[in-house]
Chain length 257, copies 2
Amino acid sequence: MYPHMSGFFSVYGISTGLLVSGDDIIDRVISSLKDTEAKSIENGDILLFAESPLSTTEGRNIRLDDITPSAEAYRLSEKYHLDARLAEVVIQESDTIVGGVPGYLLAGKWDLILPNAGVDESNAPDGWVTRLPADPEASAKRLRDEIRERTGKDTAVIIIDSRTHSMRLGVSGVAIGCSGIQPISDERGKPDLYGNKLQVTRRAIADSLASTAELLMGEASEGVPVVLVRGYPYIRCENCRIETIPAEEDLFLNLGK
Amino acid sequence: MYPHMSGFFSVYGISTGLLVSGDDIIDRVISSLKDTEAKSIENGDILLFAESPLSTTEGRNIRLDDITPSAEAYRLSEKYHLDARLAEVVIQESDTIVGGVPGYLLAGKWDLILPNAGVDESNAPDGWVTRLPADPEASAKRLRDEIRERTGKDTAVIIIDSRTHSMRLGVSGVAIGCSGIQPISDERGKPDLYGNKLQVTRRAIADSLASTAELLMGEASEGVPVVLVRGYPYIRCENCRIETIPAEEDLFLNLGK
Protein backbone atom coordinates (compact mmCIF):
# COMPACT_ATOMS: atom_id res chain seq x y z
CA MET A 1 0.00 0.00 0.00
CA TYR A 2 1.14 3.54 -0.66
CA PRO A 3 1.15 5.83 1.17
CA HIS A 4 -0.35 4.65 4.48
CA MET A 5 -3.74 3.03 4.86
CA SER A 6 -6.08 5.78 5.89
CA GLY A 7 -9.77 6.26 6.49
CA PHE A 8 -10.21 9.16 4.13
CA PHE A 9 -8.99 10.64 0.89
CA SER A 10 -9.46 13.91 -1.00
CA VAL A 11 -10.30 14.65 -4.61
CA TYR A 12 -9.17 17.87 -6.35
CA GLY A 13 -10.23 19.19 -9.74
CA ILE A 14 -7.46 20.84 -11.77
CA SER A 15 -8.75 23.52 -14.12
CA THR A 16 -6.14 24.03 -16.82
CA GLY A 17 -8.07 26.14 -19.32
CA LEU A 18 -8.45 25.08 -22.94
CA LEU A 19 -5.86 22.59 -24.23
CA VAL A 20 -4.88 22.41 -27.89
CA SER A 21 -2.67 20.17 -29.99
CA GLY A 22 0.93 20.21 -28.80
CA ASP A 23 0.21 21.73 -25.37
CA ASP A 24 2.38 20.44 -22.52
CA ILE A 25 -0.33 19.02 -20.25
CA ILE A 26 1.99 18.24 -17.31
CA ASP A 27 3.31 21.80 -17.33
CA ARG A 28 -0.28 23.08 -17.25
CA VAL A 29 -1.19 20.72 -14.41
CA ILE A 30 1.77 21.79 -12.27
CA SER A 31 1.07 25.49 -12.71
CA SER A 32 -2.72 25.12 -12.28
CA LEU A 33 -2.27 23.09 -9.09
CA LYS A 34 -0.86 26.13 -7.30
CA ASP A 35 -4.35 27.65 -7.38
CA THR A 36 -5.98 24.59 -5.80
CA GLU A 37 -6.07 23.35 -2.21
CA ALA A 38 -3.73 20.52 -3.26
CA LYS A 39 -1.01 23.08 -4.13
CA SER A 40 1.48 20.61 -5.68
CA ILE A 41 2.06 17.01 -6.68
CA GLU A 42 3.16 14.74 -3.80
CA ASN A 43 4.37 11.15 -3.51
CA GLY A 44 1.43 8.75 -3.64
CA ASP A 45 -0.92 11.11 -5.47
CA ILE A 46 -3.09 9.61 -8.22
CA LEU A 47 -3.56 11.82 -11.31
CA LEU A 48 -6.49 11.05 -13.59
CA PHE A 49 -6.56 12.46 -17.14
CA ALA A 50 -9.74 12.71 -19.23
CA GLU A 51 -9.07 11.07 -22.60
CA SER A 52 -10.44 13.82 -24.81
CA PRO A 53 -8.29 16.78 -23.73
CA LEU A 54 -5.29 14.47 -23.41
CA SER A 55 -5.69 13.10 -26.93
CA THR A 56 -6.14 16.67 -28.16
CA THR A 57 -2.69 17.57 -26.80
CA GLU A 58 -1.39 14.40 -28.48
CA GLY A 59 -2.58 15.63 -31.88
CA ARG A 60 -5.41 13.09 -32.18
CA ASN A 61 -8.09 15.54 -33.36
CA ILE A 62 -9.06 15.18 -37.00
CA ARG A 63 -10.97 17.41 -39.42
CA LEU A 64 -14.06 15.77 -40.95
CA ASP A 65 -13.56 17.59 -44.27
CA ASP A 66 -10.28 15.69 -44.68
CA ILE A 67 -12.14 12.33 -44.56
CA THR A 68 -13.40 10.47 -47.66
CA PRO A 69 -16.13 8.04 -46.59
CA SER A 70 -16.04 4.48 -47.90
CA ALA A 71 -19.11 2.66 -49.25
CA GLU A 72 -19.43 0.90 -45.88
CA ALA A 73 -19.34 4.25 -44.10
CA TYR A 74 -22.18 5.54 -46.31
CA ARG A 75 -24.19 2.36 -45.62
CA LEU A 76 -23.74 2.65 -41.82
CA SER A 77 -24.37 6.40 -41.83
CA GLU A 78 -27.76 5.86 -43.49
CA LYS A 79 -28.73 2.92 -41.29
CA TYR A 80 -27.82 4.66 -38.02
CA HIS A 81 -28.33 8.31 -38.97
CA LEU A 82 -24.88 9.81 -38.57
CA ASP A 83 -22.44 11.79 -40.72
CA ALA A 84 -20.74 9.47 -43.25
CA ARG A 85 -17.35 11.10 -42.55
CA LEU A 86 -17.81 10.43 -38.83
CA ALA A 87 -18.79 6.82 -39.65
CA GLU A 88 -15.57 6.49 -41.66
CA VAL A 89 -13.43 7.71 -38.75
CA VAL A 90 -15.24 5.27 -36.43
CA ILE A 91 -14.55 2.40 -38.86
CA GLN A 92 -10.86 3.35 -38.99
CA GLU A 93 -10.69 3.51 -35.18
CA SER A 94 -12.47 0.16 -34.66
CA ASP A 95 -11.57 -3.49 -34.80
CA THR A 96 -15.16 -4.29 -35.77
CA ILE A 97 -18.60 -2.65 -35.96
CA VAL A 98 -21.10 -4.77 -34.02
CA GLY A 99 -24.26 -2.69 -34.38
CA GLY A 100 -25.67 0.71 -33.58
CA VAL A 101 -28.48 2.93 -32.39
CA PRO A 102 -29.56 6.19 -34.05
CA GLY A 103 -26.56 8.55 -33.96
CA TYR A 104 -24.07 5.94 -32.74
CA LEU A 105 -22.20 2.94 -34.05
CA LEU A 106 -21.27 0.25 -31.54
CA ALA A 107 -17.64 -0.55 -32.15
CA GLY A 108 -15.37 -3.30 -30.91
CA LYS A 109 -12.05 -1.77 -29.83
CA TRP A 110 -9.49 -2.96 -27.27
CA ASP A 111 -11.83 -5.88 -26.51
CA LEU A 112 -14.48 -3.39 -25.40
CA ILE A 113 -17.74 -2.27 -26.97
CA LEU A 114 -17.41 1.50 -27.40
CA PRO A 115 -20.04 3.85 -28.84
CA ASN A 116 -18.46 5.39 -31.96
CA ALA A 117 -15.14 3.82 -30.90
CA GLY A 118 -14.67 6.82 -28.63
CA VAL A 119 -14.75 9.29 -31.53
CA ASP A 120 -16.51 12.41 -30.28
CA GLU A 121 -17.71 15.70 -31.73
CA SER A 122 -17.95 17.33 -28.30
CA ASN A 123 -15.09 19.51 -27.09
CA ALA A 124 -13.54 19.72 -30.53
CA PRO A 125 -13.49 22.75 -32.84
CA ASP A 126 -16.41 22.96 -35.27
CA GLY A 127 -15.95 20.39 -38.04
CA TRP A 128 -13.37 18.39 -36.06
CA VAL A 129 -13.68 15.25 -33.94
CA THR A 130 -11.54 13.89 -31.12
CA ARG A 131 -10.25 10.32 -31.25
CA LEU A 132 -9.13 8.30 -28.23
CA PRO A 133 -5.40 8.31 -27.46
CA ALA A 134 -3.70 5.87 -29.82
CA ASP A 135 -2.24 3.92 -26.89
CA PRO A 136 -3.64 5.00 -23.48
CA GLU A 137 -1.32 2.64 -21.57
CA ALA A 138 1.69 4.29 -23.22
CA SER A 139 0.22 7.73 -22.53
CA ALA A 140 -0.18 6.86 -18.84
CA LYS A 141 3.42 5.68 -18.58
CA ARG A 142 4.72 8.76 -20.42
CA LEU A 143 2.77 11.16 -18.18
CA ARG A 144 3.93 9.39 -15.00
CA ASP A 145 7.55 9.51 -16.19
CA GLU A 146 7.23 13.21 -17.00
CA ILE A 147 5.79 13.93 -13.56
CA ARG A 148 8.69 12.10 -11.93
CA GLU A 149 11.24 13.96 -14.05
CA ARG A 150 9.83 17.39 -13.31
CA THR A 151 8.78 17.01 -9.66
CA GLY A 152 10.77 14.05 -8.34
CA LYS A 153 7.50 12.56 -7.08
CA ASP A 154 6.28 9.01 -7.57
CA THR A 155 2.63 9.01 -8.57
CA ALA A 156 0.04 6.82 -10.25
CA VAL A 157 -1.55 7.93 -13.53
CA ILE A 158 -4.88 6.77 -14.95
CA ILE A 159 -6.37 7.72 -18.35
CA ILE A 160 -10.16 7.74 -18.17
CA ASP A 161 -13.17 7.73 -20.45
CA SER A 162 -16.94 7.67 -19.93
CA ARG A 163 -19.14 4.63 -20.36
CA THR A 164 -22.79 3.77 -20.22
CA HIS A 165 -24.08 0.71 -18.40
CA SER A 166 -26.79 -1.70 -19.45
CA MET A 167 -30.27 -0.47 -18.44
CA ARG A 168 -28.92 2.53 -16.53
CA LEU A 169 -29.30 6.19 -17.33
CA GLY A 170 -26.16 8.31 -17.47
CA VAL A 171 -22.43 7.80 -17.89
CA SER A 172 -19.77 7.09 -15.29
CA GLY A 173 -16.01 6.62 -15.50
CA VAL A 174 -13.84 3.83 -16.87
CA ALA A 175 -10.06 3.49 -16.89
CA ILE A 176 -8.52 2.88 -20.33
CA GLY A 177 -4.85 3.10 -19.33
CA CYS A 178 -2.84 3.18 -16.12
CA SER A 179 0.71 3.36 -14.78
CA GLY A 180 2.06 2.75 -11.29
CA ILE A 181 -1.15 1.36 -9.82
CA GLN A 182 -2.69 -2.10 -9.66
CA PRO A 183 -6.05 -1.49 -11.39
CA ILE A 184 -7.84 -4.51 -9.92
CA SER A 185 -7.85 -5.49 -6.26
CA ASP A 186 -8.19 -9.26 -6.08
CA GLU A 187 -10.05 -10.21 -2.90
CA ARG A 188 -10.67 -13.86 -3.72
CA GLY A 189 -9.78 -15.92 -0.67
CA LYS A 190 -9.91 -12.99 1.75
CA PRO A 191 -12.11 -13.58 4.78
CA ASP A 192 -15.45 -11.82 4.99
CA LEU A 193 -16.89 -10.51 8.27
CA TYR A 194 -17.76 -14.05 9.32
CA GLY A 195 -14.48 -15.61 8.28
CA ASN A 196 -15.89 -17.19 5.10
CA LYS A 197 -13.63 -16.83 2.08
CA LEU A 198 -14.82 -14.46 -0.63
CA GLN A 199 -15.17 -16.45 -3.83
CA VAL A 200 -15.34 -14.21 -6.84
CA THR A 201 -14.73 -10.66 -5.82
CA ARG A 202 -12.31 -8.54 -7.73
CA ARG A 203 -12.70 -4.81 -7.26
CA ALA A 204 -12.27 -2.46 -10.21
CA ILE A 205 -10.19 0.13 -8.33
CA ALA A 206 -9.09 2.04 -11.43
CA ASP A 207 -12.65 2.23 -12.81
CA SER A 208 -13.98 3.41 -9.45
CA LEU A 209 -11.25 6.06 -9.29
CA ALA A 210 -12.25 7.08 -12.84
CA SER A 211 -15.86 7.54 -11.70
CA THR A 212 -14.64 9.54 -8.70
CA ALA A 213 -12.68 11.84 -11.00
CA GLU A 214 -15.63 12.29 -13.36
CA LEU A 215 -17.62 13.81 -10.49
CA LEU A 216 -15.42 16.91 -10.82
CA MET A 217 -14.71 16.76 -14.55
CA GLY A 218 -18.08 16.92 -16.23
CA GLU A 219 -18.54 16.68 -19.97
CA ALA A 220 -19.36 20.30 -20.72
CA SER A 221 -17.30 23.47 -20.53
CA GLU A 222 -16.05 22.99 -16.97
CA GLY A 223 -12.51 22.74 -18.29
CA VAL A 224 -11.33 20.28 -15.62
CA PRO A 225 -9.34 17.72 -17.67
CA VAL A 226 -7.29 16.40 -14.74
CA VAL A 227 -8.23 15.32 -11.22
CA LEU A 228 -5.86 14.57 -8.35
CA VAL A 229 -6.72 12.00 -5.66
CA ARG A 230 -4.69 12.29 -2.44
CA GLY A 231 -4.61 9.87 0.49
CA TYR A 232 -6.07 6.79 -1.20
CA PRO A 233 -4.02 3.69 -0.28
CA TYR A 234 -3.60 2.09 -3.70
CA ILE A 235 -1.40 -0.89 -4.45
CA ARG A 236 1.69 0.07 -6.44
CA CYS A 237 2.48 -1.87 -9.58
CA GLU A 238 5.09 -1.07 -12.21
CA ASN A 239 3.81 -3.22 -15.07
CA CYS A 240 0.06 -3.44 -14.49
CA ARG A 241 -2.28 -2.77 -17.38
CA ILE A 242 -6.04 -2.44 -17.71
CA GLU A 243 -7.45 -5.90 -18.41
CA THR A 244 -10.52 -7.13 -20.18
CA ILE A 245 -12.12 -10.50 -19.46
CA PRO A 246 -12.71 -13.55 -21.65
CA ALA A 247 -16.11 -13.44 -23.36
CA GLU A 248 -17.10 -16.74 -21.73
CA GLU A 249 -16.77 -15.12 -18.27
CA ASP A 250 -18.87 -12.12 -19.32
CA LEU A 251 -22.27 -12.08 -17.65
CA PHE A 252 -23.76 -9.72 -20.22
CA LEU A 253 -22.55 -11.63 -23.26
CA ASN A 254 -24.02 -14.82 -21.78
CA LEU A 255 -27.53 -13.48 -21.34
CA GLY A 256 -30.13 -16.06 -22.23
CA LYS A 257 -27.66 -18.94 -22.52
CA MET B 1 -26.20 23.26 -5.78
CA TYR B 2 -25.51 22.48 -2.16
CA PRO B 3 -23.33 23.49 -0.47
CA HIS B 4 -21.14 25.78 -2.58
CA MET B 5 -19.47 24.77 -5.81
CA SER B 6 -15.94 23.82 -4.89
CA GLY B 7 -12.90 22.35 -6.52
CA PHE B 8 -12.43 19.49 -4.11
CA PHE B 9 -14.27 17.08 -1.87
CA SER B 10 -13.34 14.52 0.79
CA VAL B 11 -14.37 10.92 1.30
CA TYR B 12 -14.46 9.29 4.77
CA GLY B 13 -14.92 5.62 5.62
CA ILE B 14 -17.04 4.94 8.70
CA SER B 15 -16.08 1.72 10.47
CA THR B 16 -19.06 0.65 12.60
CA GLY B 17 -18.05 -2.88 13.53
CA LEU B 18 -20.31 -5.84 12.79
CA LEU B 19 -23.99 -5.03 12.26
CA VAL B 20 -26.73 -7.55 13.01
CA SER B 21 -30.47 -7.68 12.55
CA GLY B 22 -32.24 -4.92 14.43
CA ASP B 23 -29.14 -2.74 14.96
CA ASP B 24 -29.69 1.02 14.78
CA ILE B 25 -27.36 1.87 11.90
CA ILE B 26 -27.71 5.66 12.22
CA ASP B 27 -26.83 5.50 15.91
CA ARG B 28 -23.72 3.47 15.05
CA VAL B 29 -22.75 5.92 12.29
CA ILE B 30 -23.05 8.94 14.57
CA SER B 31 -20.95 7.38 17.32
CA SER B 32 -18.34 5.93 14.91
CA LEU B 33 -17.95 9.27 13.13
CA LYS B 34 -16.40 10.78 16.27
CA ASP B 35 -13.32 8.61 15.64
CA THR B 36 -12.91 9.82 12.04
CA GLU B 37 -11.53 13.05 10.61
CA ALA B 38 -15.09 13.99 9.62
CA LYS B 39 -16.12 14.04 13.33
CA SER B 40 -19.86 14.57 12.77
CA ILE B 41 -22.61 14.85 10.18
CA GLU B 42 -22.92 18.32 8.61
CA ASN B 43 -25.38 19.98 6.26
CA GLY B 44 -24.69 18.96 2.67
CA ASP B 45 -22.91 15.71 3.53
CA ILE B 46 -23.70 12.68 1.38
CA LEU B 47 -23.96 9.36 3.27
CA LEU B 48 -23.62 6.15 1.26
CA PHE B 49 -24.77 2.83 2.74
CA ALA B 50 -23.64 -0.56 1.42
CA GLU B 51 -26.74 -2.66 0.75
CA SER B 52 -25.65 -5.83 2.52
CA PRO B 53 -25.01 -4.53 6.06
CA LEU B 54 -28.02 -2.22 5.72
CA SER B 55 -30.35 -5.04 4.70
CA THR B 56 -28.92 -7.11 7.56
CA THR B 57 -30.04 -4.46 10.05
CA GLU B 58 -33.41 -4.47 8.29
CA GLY B 59 -33.82 -8.19 8.99
CA ARG B 60 -33.38 -9.27 5.36
CA ASN B 61 -30.98 -12.17 6.05
CA ILE B 62 -32.48 -15.61 5.58
CA ARG B 63 -31.38 -19.11 6.62
CA LEU B 64 -30.96 -21.55 3.72
CA ASP B 65 -32.17 -24.50 5.83
CA ASP B 66 -35.55 -22.78 6.07
CA ILE B 67 -35.95 -22.83 2.26
CA THR B 68 -37.70 -25.62 0.31
CA PRO B 69 -36.50 -25.53 -3.30
CA SER B 70 -39.05 -25.76 -6.09
CA ALA B 71 -38.63 -28.01 -9.13
CA GLU B 72 -37.48 -24.95 -11.11
CA ALA B 73 -34.89 -24.18 -8.42
CA TYR B 74 -33.53 -27.73 -8.69
CA ARG B 75 -33.38 -27.43 -12.49
CA LEU B 76 -31.50 -24.10 -12.38
CA SER B 77 -29.18 -25.29 -9.59
CA GLU B 78 -28.06 -28.24 -11.75
CA LYS B 79 -27.70 -26.21 -14.92
CA TYR B 80 -25.67 -23.43 -13.29
CA HIS B 81 -24.00 -25.30 -10.43
CA LEU B 82 -25.37 -23.59 -7.35
CA ASP B 83 -27.18 -24.61 -4.17
CA ALA B 84 -30.86 -25.35 -4.92
CA ARG B 85 -31.94 -23.47 -1.80
CA LEU B 86 -29.97 -20.42 -2.97
CA ALA B 87 -31.56 -20.77 -6.42
CA GLU B 88 -35.00 -20.77 -4.76
CA VAL B 89 -34.24 -17.54 -2.84
CA VAL B 90 -32.99 -15.94 -6.09
CA ILE B 91 -36.21 -16.97 -7.87
CA GLN B 92 -38.28 -15.47 -5.06
CA GLU B 93 -36.28 -12.24 -5.20
CA SER B 94 -36.46 -11.92 -9.01
CA ASP B 95 -38.98 -10.77 -11.54
CA THR B 96 -37.49 -13.19 -14.07
CA ILE B 97 -34.44 -15.43 -14.57
CA VAL B 98 -32.80 -14.58 -17.91
CA GLY B 99 -29.81 -16.94 -17.83
CA GLY B 100 -26.71 -17.75 -15.84
CA VAL B 101 -23.05 -18.65 -15.64
CA PRO B 102 -21.58 -21.31 -13.35
CA GLY B 103 -22.37 -20.28 -9.76
CA TYR B 104 -24.71 -17.44 -10.70
CA LEU B 105 -28.18 -16.90 -12.05
CA LEU B 106 -28.81 -13.75 -14.05
CA ALA B 107 -31.97 -12.24 -12.67
CA GLY B 108 -34.22 -9.45 -13.83
CA LYS B 109 -35.12 -7.23 -10.87
CA TRP B 110 -36.07 -3.54 -10.72
CA ASP B 111 -35.54 -3.40 -14.52
CA LEU B 112 -31.88 -4.38 -13.99
CA ILE B 113 -29.97 -7.58 -14.68
CA LEU B 114 -28.55 -8.63 -11.29
CA PRO B 115 -26.36 -11.69 -10.63
CA ASN B 116 -28.34 -13.86 -8.18
CA ALA B 117 -30.81 -10.94 -7.79
CA GLY B 118 -28.37 -9.50 -5.27
CA VAL B 119 -28.66 -12.54 -2.95
CA ASP B 120 -25.21 -13.10 -1.43
CA GLU B 121 -23.54 -15.67 0.80
CA SER B 122 -20.68 -13.29 1.68
CA ASN B 123 -20.86 -11.37 4.94
CA ALA B 124 -23.67 -13.49 6.31
CA PRO B 125 -23.41 -16.11 9.09
CA ASP B 126 -22.65 -19.64 7.88
CA GLY B 127 -25.77 -21.11 6.28
CA TRP B 128 -27.44 -17.73 5.82
CA VAL B 129 -27.68 -15.39 2.82
CA THR B 130 -28.27 -11.66 2.57
CA ARG B 131 -31.00 -10.29 0.34
CA LEU B 132 -31.15 -6.76 -1.05
CA PRO B 133 -33.22 -4.26 0.92
CA ALA B 134 -36.89 -4.80 0.05
CA ASP B 135 -37.27 -1.17 -1.07
CA PRO B 136 -33.93 0.73 -1.25
CA GLU B 137 -35.65 4.01 -2.15
CA ALA B 138 -37.74 3.77 1.01
CA SER B 139 -34.64 2.83 3.02
CA ALA B 140 -32.80 5.91 1.72
CA LYS B 141 -35.68 8.19 2.66
CA ARG B 142 -36.00 6.62 6.11
CA LEU B 143 -32.26 6.96 6.83
CA ARG B 144 -32.22 10.59 5.68
CA ASP B 145 -35.24 11.39 7.85
CA GLU B 146 -33.61 9.70 10.85
CA ILE B 147 -30.40 11.69 10.33
CA ARG B 148 -32.39 14.92 10.21
CA GLU B 149 -34.32 14.02 13.36
CA ARG B 150 -31.24 13.14 15.39
CA THR B 151 -28.74 15.73 14.14
CA GLY B 152 -30.86 18.52 12.63
CA LYS B 153 -28.72 18.27 9.48
CA ASP B 154 -29.93 18.06 5.90
CA THR B 155 -28.03 15.38 4.01
CA ALA B 156 -28.31 13.19 0.94
CA VAL B 157 -28.47 9.40 1.33
CA ILE B 158 -27.58 6.80 -1.31
CA ILE B 159 -27.96 3.01 -1.00
CA ILE B 160 -25.29 1.25 -3.06
CA ASP B 161 -24.50 -2.15 -4.48
CA SER B 162 -21.68 -3.60 -6.62
CA ARG B 163 -21.97 -4.36 -10.32
CA THR B 164 -19.89 -5.90 -13.03
CA HIS B 165 -19.59 -4.31 -16.46
CA SER B 166 -19.54 -5.99 -19.84
CA MET B 167 -16.04 -7.18 -20.82
CA ARG B 168 -14.39 -5.60 -17.76
CA LEU B 169 -12.73 -7.31 -14.84
CA GLY B 170 -13.85 -6.31 -11.35
CA VAL B 171 -16.84 -4.71 -9.70
CA SER B 172 -17.58 -1.04 -9.11
CA GLY B 173 -20.46 0.77 -7.44
CA VAL B 174 -24.06 1.38 -8.45
CA ALA B 175 -26.79 3.34 -6.69
CA ILE B 176 -30.00 1.40 -6.00
CA GLY B 177 -31.81 4.01 -3.92
CA CYS B 178 -31.39 7.69 -3.06
CA SER B 179 -32.94 10.53 -1.12
CA GLY B 180 -32.29 14.26 -1.24
CA ILE B 181 -30.01 14.20 -4.29
CA GLN B 182 -30.63 14.33 -8.02
CA PRO B 183 -28.99 11.08 -9.18
CA ILE B 184 -28.51 12.10 -12.81
CA SER B 185 -27.02 15.38 -14.00
CA ASP B 186 -28.57 16.22 -17.34
CA GLU B 187 -26.06 18.15 -19.45
CA ARG B 188 -27.89 17.98 -22.76
CA GLY B 189 -27.89 21.43 -24.31
CA LYS B 190 -25.02 22.73 -22.21
CA PRO B 191 -22.17 24.29 -24.18
CA ASP B 192 -18.92 22.36 -24.53
CA LEU B 193 -15.53 24.08 -24.53
CA TYR B 194 -16.14 25.32 -28.08
CA GLY B 195 -19.70 26.45 -27.49
CA ASN B 196 -21.26 23.45 -29.27
CA LYS B 197 -24.24 21.99 -27.46
CA LEU B 198 -23.73 18.59 -25.84
CA GLN B 199 -26.24 16.21 -27.39
CA VAL B 200 -26.61 13.09 -25.31
CA THR B 201 -24.72 13.47 -22.09
CA ARG B 202 -26.32 12.61 -18.83
CA ARG B 203 -23.94 11.95 -15.97
CA ALA B 204 -24.66 9.16 -13.49
CA ILE B 205 -23.74 11.18 -10.39
CA ALA B 206 -25.20 8.71 -7.88
CA ASP B 207 -23.46 5.73 -9.53
CA SER B 208 -20.14 7.59 -9.59
CA LEU B 209 -20.56 8.48 -5.91
CA ALA B 210 -21.31 4.79 -5.27
CA SER B 211 -18.03 3.82 -6.95
CA THR B 212 -16.23 6.48 -4.91
CA ALA B 213 -17.64 5.02 -1.70
CA GLU B 214 -16.70 1.46 -2.69
CA LEU B 215 -13.04 2.50 -2.80
CA LEU B 216 -13.15 2.62 1.01
CA MET B 217 -15.71 -0.10 1.63
CA GLY B 218 -14.28 -3.22 0.12
CA GLU B 219 -16.13 -6.51 0.02
CA ALA B 220 -14.16 -8.39 2.67
CA SER B 221 -13.84 -7.92 6.41
CA GLU B 222 -13.00 -4.21 6.32
CA GLY B 223 -16.24 -3.47 8.16
CA VAL B 224 -16.82 -0.09 6.52
CA PRO B 225 -20.53 -0.20 5.66
CA VAL B 226 -21.00 3.57 5.39
CA VAL B 227 -19.01 6.29 3.63
CA LEU B 228 -19.41 10.04 4.02
CA VAL B 229 -18.68 12.44 1.14
CA ARG B 230 -18.16 16.07 2.16
CA GLY B 231 -17.83 19.09 -0.10
CA TYR B 232 -19.31 17.66 -3.28
CA PRO B 233 -21.74 20.17 -4.83
CA TYR B 234 -24.68 17.90 -5.62
CA ILE B 235 -28.06 19.07 -6.83
CA ARG B 236 -30.74 18.74 -4.16
CA CYS B 237 -33.95 16.98 -5.04
CA GLU B 238 -36.75 15.90 -2.71
CA ASN B 239 -38.50 13.37 -4.91
CA CYS B 240 -35.78 12.02 -7.19
CA ARG B 241 -35.43 8.28 -7.60
CA ILE B 242 -32.91 6.03 -9.34
CA GLU B 243 -34.09 5.54 -12.93
CA THR B 244 -33.60 2.79 -15.44
CA ILE B 245 -33.82 3.38 -19.19
CA PRO B 246 -36.13 1.96 -21.84
CA ALA B 247 -34.71 -1.20 -23.46
CA GLU B 248 -34.83 0.44 -26.90
CA GLU B 249 -32.37 3.11 -25.70
CA ASP B 250 -29.99 0.51 -24.23
CA LEU B 251 -26.79 0.16 -26.23
CA PHE B 252 -25.99 -3.27 -24.82
CA LEU B 253 -29.40 -4.78 -25.47
CA ASN B 254 -29.21 -3.55 -29.08
CA LEU B 255 -25.92 -5.24 -29.90
CA GLY B 256 -25.98 -6.72 -33.37
CA LYS B 257 -29.26 -5.08 -34.41
